[in-house]
């Protein structure tokens, strides 16, 4: 067991965990943040994507101990006082989710992409979603939602 100290969704936390605990397991089982989902065991599906120090990370590819001292954001951080984040609203408006299992990873990837501030279009969004699998939507509405959500985020800042 080793003590890991990090900031998750703006809250400082310090817990003793087994050294081999993955960041995804740490978030789900130790912090009870169930929004980060596990869809595979080879880092292919992207349902577990979170943001660590501003960068998207598949939280199943990283030990929690490697995130010591980091700032971690999960899907639970997006909603502000019950008010949906513009990207969440866009996913709702564009019917960009069906079963919802890949959605948290999609949202975190989308928010990080939008925050880069670069011009994005359909092709670049499709390329940036390389690491996120969805089996329900055929991606079309996800791409449309990300373009709309990113635009909303730009106009609000």
């Amino acid at each position: 067991m080793t003590r890991v100290s990090l900031e998750v969704n703006g809250k400082k936390t310090s817990i003793d965990i087994p050294d081999n605990t993955l960041l995804s397991t740490f978030l789900r089982e130790h912090l009870n943040l169930k929004g980060t989902h596990i869809g595979c065991d080879t880092s292919q599906c992207g349902a577990c994507v979170v943001i660590v120090n501003g960068k998207t990370v598949k939280s199943c590819t990283m030990l929690a101990l490697q995130a010591a001292g980091s700032r971690v954001e999960t899907v639970e951080s997006l909603c502000d006082d019950g008010k949906l984040h513009p990207m969440q609203r866009a996913f709702h408006e564009y019917h960009a989710l069906q079963c919802g299992f890949c959605t948290p990873g999609m949202l975190m990837t989308a928010v990080a992409l939008a925050k880069k501030g670069k011009e994005i279009d359909e092709l670049s969004v499709r390329t940036e979603l390389e690491g996120n699998l969805c089996r329900c939507t055929g991606y079309q509405n996800i791409v449309a939602a990300i373009l709309a959500g990113a635009k909303k985020m730009r106009t609000q800042t």
Partner: protein, 776 residues
């Protein structure tokens, strides 16, 4: 009963918020106090005798509380998982051969991934560690994974008492009449056509938690199931041999199903057994690798398809002979897919006077096969549209004209097809023309020339399809008026991401004239829904929605009596419209919402009409399946340097009858088309000759990613609602899977018209395309 305006509107989903905020509740999000974890030892061999299992190492491992093997399982007198396929008799009248499918391998393993032992321990890591300590002495046997090979004399025998590995044979249609049509034909074109074996891969892996209440002697199973009632009956009655009421089956949010979560599996009864034995909750959630090994898979057919036609290109007859892979055991309805599942829509929307379909269903040393989104209709459509395309190429017919001239004419409806499907509505010619005009044919040559200038090959294909939907024929819907004036709506089917919370509430809101916000939706709990037909066969809206209609009708009938009492008028004078009960020409009226508010908790009304008077339980049972249809088209660009394929345009025109919520319907079409594209271009479950699964992870099994699928332009043909259900709905959930594979394949074939594509089968990977172009 006329509906209010909300039906037909693209109302946004009420379930979204919890999914968007990470508050969805899937099986893996549930933990029960004091729970332990199960892990399974799975066979590393595709076919072997188990000489001995030594569990002592596992039993002595820290934290382990239970180890169960096949021998232990039989001592409990548990039964095998049942096969409930309605198709169960050989052509010759003999009964289908159903080997016992026990939850644990008994003395012999028959596919890689079959469960040999279960370990239960305090933590998941300790359970997994203990699994490693079980020693098994296997004696390897010869393996067969290919169903055609399995039928040959001298092939390894998977079941000692099932000769030639043949589970069942099946025929449909008129063999003699079809033979006569072939005798009279000017042309006969035959091809061997393969339908690749694929994995469903819902992104949420399967999982379950079992709990036992020693006071009530009742088991509870939280399970990622898309079919809770039938699964419960199988687990309780057939396997555990307890009354079905003693098993409470709950499905929380389900992260995609596609058929994979429809049938029964060994893990739930195993952990139910453990929960009872240990009096502790037992949890198991599959890893993705475990899912690839043990989830049911789909398609996997090899067919000889022959088309007979006149000199002018009029279709005379169709003959399809199929060998279907069943895996090592009969899955819950495994034998259904390659038999009736694939037979029913043979011939598609074309006017065939005679069709003959024959299938053999065969055991192999592979994981169990089951319906996967479409369950036979994609196979049938692929067989048909490939042979038509090949016919057009070989005989130099225009593929568009050849199809159009053979379509069933609307004026001949209603009719019964050569395969016995009753088509009551639709207009295949108009649907075809609508799709064709959507594709901008006049602009094709410019697009193709532009591609050629870039060094690309360009191709186009268009084809209609015929569906049949409705799945399980019977569904429950219930309405309960709560004391807080809200209405609970419960339906026995289950959403696997398909938006029932929204669309069913939308229906009820439209019928009763109450706000969607005042409806609370329930599903996925056998204690709250007495029965249900699960989620399969695109039945959600067609059968489930119709049950909601029946519940609303009964509610209004009862509401009329209550309204008459409240208004002090004869109920025969009351009319109901737009959510209001009223007496025409007077100011006497009361709304549905008022009725609900006044009856909720009212002692007077309870006294007069009985407690819970407005609560309703309704059943809808469809008679015959509805026949959705449509026409899809696409254009592809092939890069001869790399074999890479880019689907440039994809168009869909679908006749789903009445559209209740176009946004949700679009979502179904987009998702199913993407799965169809996946099957056409990249997906395949590959077994080595040794029986090892070569596509056991998402590294080896290719799922379509965002850059693999195009934007799809969708239109609906809404002029032909069906009369087979009160909504006029024809199921929409699987059509994209039926329509897409052959359209994509044929467009690529068109792009490769100057090359020999005879040996090409799905998936059309870039490697295969490159080899075809470069003759390597």
């Amino acid at each position: 009963m006329k509906a209010l305006g909300s039906i037909g509107k693209s109302i946004k989903r009420s379930e979204d918020k919890r999914f968007l905020t990470g508050q969805g509740k899937y099986v893996d999000d549930i933990n029960l106090p004091n729970q332990v974890y199960a892990a399974f030892l799975r066979s590393p061999y595709a076919h072997a005798i188990i000489n001995r299992i030594d569990t002592s190492g596992a039993l002595g491992s820290p934290g382990v509380s239970l180890v169960v093997t096949g021998t232990d399982w039989l001592k409990e007198n548990y039964g095998p998982l049942p096969c409930t396929s309605r198709i169960n008799t050989f052509v010759g009248g003999e009964k289908m051969k159903v080997p016992p499918r026990h939850c644990l391998a008994i003395d012999r393993v028959r596919f890689v991934g079959e469960i040999v032992a279960m370990v239960v321990a305090e933590t998941k890591p300790s359970a997994l560690h203990a699994v490693e300590l079980i020693e098994v002495d296997y004696e390897e046997l010869e393996v067969v994974t290919d169903p055609e090979e399995a039928l040959k004399p001298g092939a390894p025998q998977i079941w000692d008492d099932i000769p030639n590995n043949l589970c069942l044979d099946f025929e449909l249609g008129d063999r003699i009449k079809t033979a006569a049509a072939f005798d009279s034909a000017h042309y006969i074109i035959s091809r061997k056509i393969k339908n690749n074996r694929v994995a469903g891969v819902p992104i949420e892996p399967r999982g379950a938690i079992a709990n036992y209440d020693d006071d009530t002697k009742r088991l509870t199973l939280f399970n990622s199931s898309q079919n809770i009632h039938e699964n419960r009956d199988a687990y309780a009655i057939d396997v555990l041999k307890i009354e079905k009421e003693k098993l409470h089956h709950v499905a929380p949010d389900i992260g995609g199903g596609f058929g994979v979560k429809n049938g029964t599996y060994p893990e739930p009864p195993l952990i139910l057994h453990a929960a009872k034995k240990l009096c502790r909750p037992v949890k198991w959630v599959a890893d993705r690798s475990e899912s690839f090994l043990s989830d049911t898979q789909g398609r996997g057919q090899v067919s000889t398809v022959s088309l007979a036609l006149t000199k002018e290109g009029k279709f005379l007859g169709l003959r399809v002979e199929t060998v279907g892979n069943l895996g090592a055991y009969c899955g819950t309805i495994g034998p259904f897919t390659p038999t009736a599942g694939t037979a029913r829509t043979q011939g598609g929307p074309y006017g065939f006077a005679s069709i003959y379909y024959y299938a053999k269903v065969v055991f192999t040393n592979t994981a169990i096969m089951a319906p996967y989104r479409g369950a036979g209709r994609p196979e049938a459509a692929f067989q048909l549209e490939r042979i038509i395309e090949e016919t057009a190429r070989e005989l130099d017919f225009d593929p568009i004209e050849l199809r159009k001239k053979n379509l069933i004419q609307a004026k001949t409806l209603p009719l019964r097809t050569a395969m016995g499907l009753d088509i009551d509505s639709g207009n295949f010619v108009e649907v075809f023309d609508q799709a064709l005009s959507l594709t901008d044919r006049t602009g094709f040559s410019a697009r193709a020339s532009a591609a050629t200038r870039r060094g690309k090959l360009y191709g186009f294909a268009i084809a209609p399809y015929l569906e049949c939907t409705g799945g399980g024929s019977k569904e429950f819907a219930g309405i309960t008026v709560r004391d807080d004036n809200k209405i609970e709506l419960s339906v026995g089917s289950h959403s696997t991401g398909t938006g029932h919370e929204t669309s069913f509430a939308q229906l009820l809101s439209g019928y009763l004239g109450i706000g969607v916000d005042s409806i609370v939706f329930f599903q996925g709990d056998t204690d709250r829904t007495p029965f249900g037909g699960g989620h399969g066969g695109s039945r959600g809206m067609e059968v489930g929605g119709s049950a909601v209609y029946e519940a609303a009708s009964t509610f209004i009938k009862k509401g009329r009596l209550l309204a008459a009492y409240i208004l002090g008028v004869e109920n025969s004078r009351l009319q109901f419209s737009n959510g209001v009960f009223f007496v025409s020409g007077t100011d006497k009226s009361v709304t549905s919402e008022d009725l609900i508010a006044q009856s909720a908790g009212s002692e007077v009304i309870n006294g007069e009409f009985g407690y819970g008077y407005l609560n309703v339980s309704a059943t809808f049972e469809r008679e015959i399946m509805s026949i959705p249809n449509g026409c899809h088209a696409c254009e592809v660009e092939v890069d001869p340097e790399t074999g890479g394929i880019n689907i440039v345009n994809y168009w869909a025109v679908d006749d789903f009858g009445t559209i209740v919520n176009g946004m949700l319907t679009d979502g179904q079409v987009m998702g199913a088309v993407a799965q169809g594209i996946g099957q056409a271009l990249m997906e395949e479950s590959v077994y080595a000759d040794s029986g090892q699964l070569m596509t056991g992870s998402l590294i080896d099994y290719a799922l379509p990613r965002a850059f693999d699928v195009p934007n799809i332009r969708i239109q609906y043909y809404e002029e032909a609602p069906t009369k087979k259900n009160p909504l006029g709905v024809k199921g929409a959930g699987e059509a994209g899977c039926v329509a897409a594979p052959h359209v994509v394949f044929n467009a690529i074939a068109d792009a490769l018209r100057n090359f020999n594509i005879e040996s090409l089968d799905m998936p059309l990977t870039s490697e295969k395309i490159w080899r075809t172009i470069h003759r390597r």
